[in-house]
């Protein structure tokens, strides 16, 4: 065993690299034709909405990498960020394909400006490790976002668009774990020390003002729900409330008594009207890709 790489090679022709990649495509075999009667532009924008939620939220969660309170938690938060990034890639790819404008996932992620992003504002705000929050705020957002997304994806498994249905079926398993992880931490922080309880209460108060936006029906969402390919978020509210109440009751916490952040002349994240935070997030995320036109990665 004189060559370090030989010792690791398994059934590979390339002796200097160990282990093949052997990945399978997540949606292999799924029919990618858009169902008849469905408006392509509307479906594309809907895919952007769900994809941008996942992409922007993943970008925020990944900020914890190497900064979590414990190594196990570093692994867990990175895992959740990776799941969401995976969902974002499938959804943006679907959006690009349905839109038919010769863009791909990267063109959508890196070459759109703030007002073209369709994510809810809760996905983009800083909830820690930056100055906008801490671990408890991060957990509060994870509870709210994952409860909303799990309810949404569960309904979406019945979408008439086979691609969205398949993406949702894959995502349900992932987001169920995200929600469980968040709920367990809410119990620990609320029931841990006096200080951790204060932080948990403050964290919920930080994210709660952005919850109503999750359930406000945008015209695109109404249209896809009508066509049987998407979900009207207003129909998720009861389930969301029930889950949140169950977790808060178990943690002996009250629902935060705080005002909601209003939309701007009726327009919010789903319309491309965001908080000041998104511009900075995108500036950081996009600058390498934009500064080297024609580059391949």
């Amino acid at each position: 065993m004189d060559n370090a790489y030989d010792g690791l090679t398994e059934d590979s022709e390339e002796k200097h690299w160990a282990f093949g990649t052997g990945f399978s495509t997540a949606l292999a075999g799924v029919d990618r034709a858009v169902p008849s009667g469905v408006d392509h532009d509307v479906l594309a924008v809907y895919c952007l909405m769900l994809g941008d939620d996942a992409l922007i939220y993943s970008q925020r969660l990944a900020e914890w990498c190497s900064r979590a309170p414990e190594l196990e938690e570093d692994v867990a938060l990175a895992n959740i960020a990776l799941d969401l990034l995976g969902q974002a890639r499938l959804l943006l790819t679907r959006a690009a394909e349905v839109e038919g404008a010769d863009r791909d996932e990267d063109a959508l992620a890196y070459l759109r400006d703030e007002h073209e992003f369709r994510n809810v504002r809760l996905a983009e705000i800083d909830c820690g490790p930056g100055p906008g929050g801490d671990f408890a705020t991060t957990i509060a957002r994870l509870l709210v976002m994952s409860t909303h997304r799990l309810a949404l994806l569960q309904r979406l498994t019945g979408s008439l668009d086979p691609v969205l249905a398949a993406i949702a079926a894959k995502g349900v398993k992932e987001v169920a774990y995200h929600r469980d992880h968040a709920a367990q931490w809410v119990l620990r922080l609320a029931g841990g020390t006096e200080y951790s309880r204060e932080r948990m209460v403050a964290g919920l108060e930080r994210v709660w003002p952005f919850t109503d936006e999750l359930f406000a029906t945008h015209a695109v969402e109404a249209a896809v729900a009508e066509a049987g390919v998407g979900v009207d978020p207003a129909t998720l509210r009861a389930e969301f409330d029930e889950v949140l109440d169950t977790v808060l009751r178990a943690a002996d916490l009250d629902r935060p008594d705080v005002r909601q952040v209003a939309a701007l002349a009726g327009r919010a994240g789903r319309d491309g009207v965001h908080t000041e935070a998104l511009g900075f997030l995108l500036a950081e995320m996009q600058y390498v890709a934009r500064s080297m036109p024609g580059a391949v990665w």
Partner: protein, 307 residues
């Protein structure tokens, strides 16, 4: 005395020492130090690459990089677990790291300045780590050897991904090719230093070789690394910044120049470009998270009491 003879017999026969077996104190201490340093290196090593997660220029590269840095946290976890089988405590080892009382691989005290660094770290730094670590899959201490098998499998996957990023960049624009060469120029010498000082100046080698904690000398491993890396550089289309690098047909190996050992010792002693920053980052994460760990402990204790 019988215990010691049994220990020596097991080690000499290339069998494994397990946590409950008797072992000399020196063996235990040396192993704890070596494994802890390795664990610290994995954890500190998350930072230079983590530096580029938010800016990765494609979603695929972002996913690969995030997964890789996550793997490093996982490696740190199983290595700390291996030290715990020797009676060490993870929290204490972390204290030693953030107080600067225990070291980690000096390579992570260099900055990552462009996205090409992500590929070059995968190719060269992980490549050098693999050369160092593959022999440790047969090291005499069982839990360490088993942890290293898993670590090496993942490292080798990371190396492949890093090299693939560089191949892709080299097929792109001239600006990208220049970026790759510039990153290679910065990382080549530090990667050679990862094997430690020349054998003549390496203090721990002899005893560690006897205990089968270490299986090859620093210079042997360095030579092996150079011999493997040169053909890969050719295939990639980059050069190493060493005018003395040349094939020596008599030896059947590449000749290469001497790394700047003054720089090596400077960085080891804490004067590298990022030493203070890396430790401070880890210290801050550890301290900022203290209340969360306390809450989890308090909650678990309450639950136990209630049960």
């Amino acid at each position: 005395m019988d215990l010691e003879r049994e220990f020596e017999r097991v080690v000499a026969a290339d069998h494994r020492i397990e946590p409950r077996d008797w072992m000399p104190d020196g063996y235990r201490k040396t192993l704890i130090r070596q494994i802890a340093q390795h664990a610290h290196s994995e954890i500190i090593g998350m930072q230079p690459e983590g530096n580029w997660i938010s800016r990765a220029p494609s979603l695929r590269r972002k996913a690969i990089l995030l997964a890789k840095v996550q793997d490093e946290a996982g490696h740190g976890l199983y290595l700390y677990a291996a030290t715990e089988t020797l009676g060490a405590d993870r929290a204490e080892l972390t204290e030693k790291l953030v107080e600067g009382r225990q070291k980690y691989s000096s390579i992570f005290n260099y900055p990552t300045l462009t996205f090409a660094d992500v590929g070059v770290i995968g190719w060269l730094v992980d490549g050098a780590a693999i050369c160092n670590q593959v022999p440790l899959c047969r090291t005499s201490y069982g839990p360490y050897a088993r942890a290293m098998i898993r670590v090496c499998k993942e490292e080798s996957f990371h190396q492949r991904q890093g090299y693939e990023l560089l191949l892709t960049m080299m097929s792109g624009t001239q600006q990208q090719r220049d970026m790759v060469q510039e990153a290679v120029d910065r990382w080549w010498w530090p990667s050679l230093m990862m094997f430690g000082p020349p054998d003549a100046e390496s203090s721990n080698t002899e005893q560690s070789m006897l205990w089968r904690i270490k299986r090859h000398t620093n210079d042997e491993l360095r030579q092996r690394y150079v011999d493997m890396s040169v053909p890969q550089a050719d295939k990639l289309g980059v050069t190493f910044p060493d005018p003395e690098l040349a094939w020596n047909a008599d030896r059947g190996h590449y000749d290469f120049g001497e790394p700047d050992w003054t720089e090596f010792w400077q960085v080891v002693k804490g004067e590298g470009p990022c030493n203070a920053q890396r430790v401070e980052h880890r210290r801050k994460a550890h301290e900022d998270g203290a209340w969360v760990r306390e809450a989890a402990t308090a909650y678990a204790a309450k639950r136990e009491k209630a049960a």
